[in-house]
Structures are given as C-alpha cells and as structure tokens.
C-alpha cells in the first residue's frame, strides 16, 4: 500500500521527464502517421492507378495550397484565435490578380498584387480583433462574407482568364521530374513555420498566449502585436495560396475555393492542434495534410463525388475532437 493518497500522487511531478522518443511513441503525430500509412496502403490496394508517380504527384495538389494556409492557421488557433475568412481572402486576392491582368500587369506584378491583397485583408482582420477587441469568430464571419462579397461585386457571374503563360509556373510547373513547384513551396513553408513555432521566441509567445493570455501580458509579451502579426501572416499565406490556385486553374471566379475555411480548420485540428488554443505542432499539421490529401485522392479514384467527401471531412472534424474526449472519459471511468 502506498502511503500517498492517490489524489496527491497524481499531482507529483515525475523524477525525470520522458525522453523525446518516449514522448513520440505516445504522441498524436505517431497515431496520425499510422493513419497516413494505412490510407496509403489501402489506396494502393483499392486502385491500380494509385501508385503511379505522376498520379501521386497530382495527388499532392489536393492539399498543398490548403496546407500553406493551414500552417499559419495552426499558429493562429494555438494563440486562441481563429480566421474563418481565409477562403474569402483567397477569392479576393485572386480577383485582384485577375483585375490586374486586365490592366496588363505581368507576372511579378501579379504575384505582388496577390501577396499585397492577402496582407491587407489579414491586417484588416487583425486590426478589428486586436484594435477594437472584437471576438475573432464574428469578425472573420463578417469579413468572410465581405471579402467574397467584393469579389462578387467585381466579377458577378463572369470570370477572369488570360493570365500570362509564365504565371502558370506557380501552379503547374515542375521543379524536377514529378516534384511540382507547389510541393517544394509547401515543404519549404513547412520548415519555415516549424522553425518559427518551435524554435523562436515568437513561437514560444504564441503558445503562452494560447495557454494564458493574461499571464502572457504579465510576462511582458505584447499580446495584441503578436496576434496582429498572426492575422497578417494568415492573410499573407492565403495570398500565397491564391497565387498557386489561380495559376493552377488559370481562371478566377468569385466562387473560387468556396468552403476551404472548413477544410483548413479540419486539417489543423486533425493535426492535433487544440481548438481551444495552447497546444499543437507543425509536423502534426504536415502529416494531417498528407492524410487528407491521400483520402480525397483515394475517394476521387473510386469516383466518389466531392460533396460526399465533404460529409467525410465534416465527420472527421467532429470525430477527431470527440474521440479523444470519449476515450479519456472511458479511461477515467475505469480508474474509479
């Protein structure tokens, strides 16, 4: 019999922290990696066309653009905020680029336009949230309809086409053999965001704000500045995604990327980021991006319509949050 009461024992700190390997073995990321491998194997059994290198390369387009937004969104959600307007920022940036094409802009100007619009939209969100102290959910529901609304005002039922041929490189170009430019950009951004979140003071501040905003303020972190920067970053990444997607599709309609905010949030949550803020990792989001891309691609090979896939994504979003809670409750029940 232990002399310490179980209640007290639970509060005791361990003598030594678990090694990184031990922590990895019980982590969400490893579970997710298992799922990714399982999906990959299942897909290769389900369709004979899956294991073709070019098909696999095509499959990456299912997630690269969404994942670029998801990296920034992960930081934003970890800090306890959310941005539901990302897909609308993408639409507005794409519309602005289409408009610039009509004025005769060349590729560098188009890229700058896309980035600038994304940046401006993100700054607008950030200003409303941090400057006026408004809840980010309502603000971004509002801007979600405002930004896409402006695209509708500009475009109506028309579409912008006629992008210059060298602009196509961003969405359709290949760097080496089957490795697309988008995939390289995705990998590069994954590294940048992983370093930013896990290896810099800024990343540390993001975690602190998500766990305890008041504590963060008292420990000298400029909470509004960090949050504003995160909104700007999310807007900027939406602009980057807009460049890639517009270049890949070669046309802009106001309904471009409709409903992507849901998929981006799902990707982030699936990657193990707590929707309440304070925890999550970039590697998790990267693996989640692969899982979602592979699942969508597998369904596509099996001729499942897109809207049925969206049922799956919706279920995934709820299940990913619900299952750990149910499991924890069951485990807690067994202890008592």
């Amino acid at each position: 019999m232990s002399l310490v009461s179980p209640d007290l024992a639970r509060r005791q700190l361990p003598d030594r922290l678990k090694t990184p390997l031990q922590r990895f073995l019980v982590s969400w990321e490893l579970l997710l990696l298992g799922v990714a491998v399982a999906v990959f194997v299942l897909n290769s059994f389900a369709s004979p066309y899956f294991l073709d290198p070019w098909n696999l390369s095509d499959a990456t387009f299912n997630f690269t653009e969404k994942a670029m937004i998801a990296f920034a969104m992960a930081l934003l959600i970890i800090s306890g905020e959310i941005d539901l307007s990302v897909a609308s920022i993408l639409a507005l940036a794409s519309t602005a680029m289409g408009f610039a094409v009509q004025l005769g802009a060349d590729t560098p100007v188009l890229v700058l336009t896309g980035l600038a619009v994304g940046l401006a939209c993100g700054a607008f969100n950030g200003l409303l949230v941090t400057g006026f102290g408004l809840p980010s959910i309502v603000v971004t529901i509002g801007t979600m309809s405002l930004f896409r609304g402006i695209s509708y005002i500009v475009l109506g039922d028309k579409a912008y086409t006629g992008y210059p041929s060298d602009f196509a490189f961003f969405g359709q170009g290949y760097v080496w053999w089957v490795i697309s430019f988008e995939f390289v950009l995705f990998a590069l951004l994954a590294v940048v965001f992983a370093v930013l979140l896990h290896r810099t003071n800024f990343g540390r501040a993001v975690y602190v704000i998500g766990n305890n905003p008041v504590g963060a303020l008292f420990s000298g972190i400029r909470v509004p500045n960090v949050k504003f920067a995160l909104f700007v970053l999310t807007g900027l990444m939406s602009g980057v995604a807009a460049i890639c997607l517009t270049s890949r599709l070669g046309a802009t309609r106001p309904s471009i990327a409709f409903g992507w905010e849901l998929e981006v949030v799902t990707m982030v949550v699936l990657g193990g980021v707590s929707i309440l803020g304070g925890s999550g990792t970039i590697p998790g989001v990267v693996i989640a991006a692969f899982v979602m891309g592979m699942v969508t691609f597998g369904f596509g090979l099996l001729n499942v319509p897109g809207i049925v896939m969206s049922i799956f994504i919706g279920l995934l979003l709820i299940a990913v949050i619900a299952l750990p809670r149910i499991a924890r409750r069951l485990l807690a029940g067994r202890k008592d």
């Binding site: 979600m144 049922i311 979003l317």
Partner: protein
C-alpha cells in the same frame, strides 16, 4: 427616461430602418406601399424565424452555423416524402419537418453538451454533413414544382386576413418567443447561462442541457422553415439557402444580440432580420446588382459587432454612475 429610450438598441435600429425606408421612398414611393411592405415581410419571414432560433443559441454562448443546411435537408426530405405520398395532410408534414429539424438540432446540442466540443466546430462540421446527406438522399437530383402536390405548395402562400400563412407563422413564432424568452424558466435560463455560466450552475441550472435545448429549438425552427421554403419556391435541390446561415447570424448581430452571450431581445432579432430584409428587397428597386448583397451583410456584421462592443462598454460606466448616485 428619454435618454434611456434613445440608448436602447431597438430604438436606434428602428430609427435606422425608418430612415432607410424614407430614403428609398423619396425616390421610389411605391416601395413603402402597404402591399409592397407586406411582400417584404413575407420575403423576410424565413430569416425572422431562423434569427429567433439563432438568438437563443447565441444567448447561451453558442452558435449554430448548420441552420441553413438543416433547412435544406428537411426541405428535401419533406419534398421527397410528398412525391412518395402526395396525399399526406399538411399537419403531418409540418410535424415531420419540425421533428426532423429538432433531431438535427439535438445532434448539435448533444455534441456540445455531452462531449464539450466547441459549438463553432460542431456546427461547422454538421453543416457540411447535412449538405452532403441531401446529395446522398436525392442523388443530386432536383425536385421540381410538378412533382409536388398542390396542397403541399399552396400552404405557405394561402392568404389569411390579408397576409400569407408564411408571414403569419413568422408573427406567431415571434409572439411565442416573446412569451418563451420573457415569461418562462427556460427563457430565463438562456440568459443566465450566457450571462454567467458559473453562477447559473449555482442557481440550479444545467448549463449543457440549456444549450442543448437552444439547439433543439433552433433546429426545429430550421426544419419548419425548410418545409415553408421548399413549398414557397416549389423547388428542392442540394444548394437551397446556401450561405443563409451567415445572413441569420448577421441579423442577430445587427439586432444587438451579443456574441459573448447573455444579451439580446426578441425585438432586436426581429428588427435585425427586417433591416436585412428591407436592404435585400430595396437593392433591385434602386438598381443595385444583387451581387452586392453578400458584401453588404458582411459589412453590416462588422459594423454591428463593433457598435455592440463600444455600446456595451459605455453601458458599464452608466451603471457605475447610477450606483454612486444611489449612495
């Protein structure tokens, strides 16, 4: 007293609506003719019903983004029921629509209550799931006017005392909400849960159950509107009322219902919905493309939420001053 009246949210919004209507009437007097206003009310009826349901959800610090998908799914389900059994009487259809909608609300509510999942995530998820299910049950097909029975289509349009049934239902729901929110323990509980969940627990209110009740109410109203919508427009397909959830939330936010919970009134939700309804109906009259609609509701949400934030801050100061005077 006059100052208090002036400060009340409903008065400001009511005045804004009057100014808006006067501005439109100065150029297009036909807009304010009673028959046209009745049309505007009828057009806005679905928004009013859904905004009232959304109001109680927001009062309890939750949000229901699945209302439009719920509406579309219930609408498709009753339309399909009607094609299979054309003889089914209207009361049965109404009951089916209410129950189906309530069931979907219950799913949202249980996920929020029993599993503690953030409401925005739950309803964002169920929103796409419900839409997907419409595609699965309908196979992506449309159900057109000629496939629906005449009684099914006639009900919301039947004129009673000068107004269509659709308008009367919206009025009845609003009246019901005045009683429910102002005169019942459940109505009190909605405010208590949103105002201070911890205090609500100590007064014996089950926070989760109250939130679940709000979702069921919102879902049932969405279901009811689903039938009315499909019958009125005599068509059902996957994308009906797409994006309508934003308009519903916008109506609530414009109506002064605080997204932080616990603050709001039936009158506010009603006026918020009417404001959007009037704008929507006035756009074609003043020759502005309907493509402006989305941007206008977006800006309205942002302006209203900014306004709410500043006015609630001012309110806190007034209360303090009053307390000082009392001493």
């Amino acid at each position: 007293m006059i100052r208090l009246l002036f400060k009340s949210r409903e008065m400001i919004l009511g005045a804004a609506i009057l100014v808006l209507m006067a501005a439109i009437a100065s150029r297009f007097p036909a807009f304010v003719a009673p028959s046209n206003l009745a049309n505007v009310l009828n057009d806005t009826a679905p928004l009013i019903i859904l905004a009232l349901g959304q109001m109680v959800v927001i009062l309890t610090r939750c949000i229901d983004l699945s209302v439009a998908a719920n509406l579309a799914l219930t609408g498709m389900a009753v339309a399909m029921l009607n094609t299979v059994m054309p003889g089914l009487p209207i009361p049965v259809i109404l009951l089916v629509a209410l129950c189906l909608g309530a069931l979907m609300g219950l799913i949202n509510g249980l996920l929020v209550w029993k599993l503690d999942i953030p409401p925005i995530v739950v309803t964002l998820g169920t929103m796409t799931i419900f839409r997907g299910i419409i595609f699965v049950i309908s196979g992506g097909e449309w159900i057109n006017a000629h496939e629906m029975s005449d009684t099914f289509k006639a009900f919301p349009r039947a004129v009673l005392f000068g107004l269509p049934v659709l308008s009367w239902i919206a009025i009845a729901v609003a009246a019901g909400f005045v009683v429910l929110v102002g005169r019942t323990p459940l109505g009190r509980a909605f405010f208590a849960v949103g105002g201070n969940p911890h205090a609500a627990v100590y007064t014996g209110i089950d926070v989760g159950r109250t939130q679940c009740a709000a979702y069921v109410l919102s879902g049932a109203l969405a279901g009811l509107t689903g039938y009315l919508w499909v019958a009125r427009y005599a068509v059902a397909y996957v994308d009906i009322a797409a994006g309508f959830e934003l308009e519903v939330v916008a109506a609530c936010v414009i109506g002064g219902i605080s997204i932080a919970g616990g603050i709001g009134s039936v009158g506010g939700a009603l006026l918020g919905a009417l404001f959007l309804g009037i704008v929507k109906n006035a756009l074609p009259v003043i020759h502005i493309s309907p493509f402006w609609q989305l941007a206008i509701s977006g800006s309205a949400i942002i302006i209203a939420v900014a306004f709410n934030a500043t006015s609630s801050r001012a309110k806190g100061r007034v209360i303090l001053k009053k307390a000082e005077h009392a001493l």
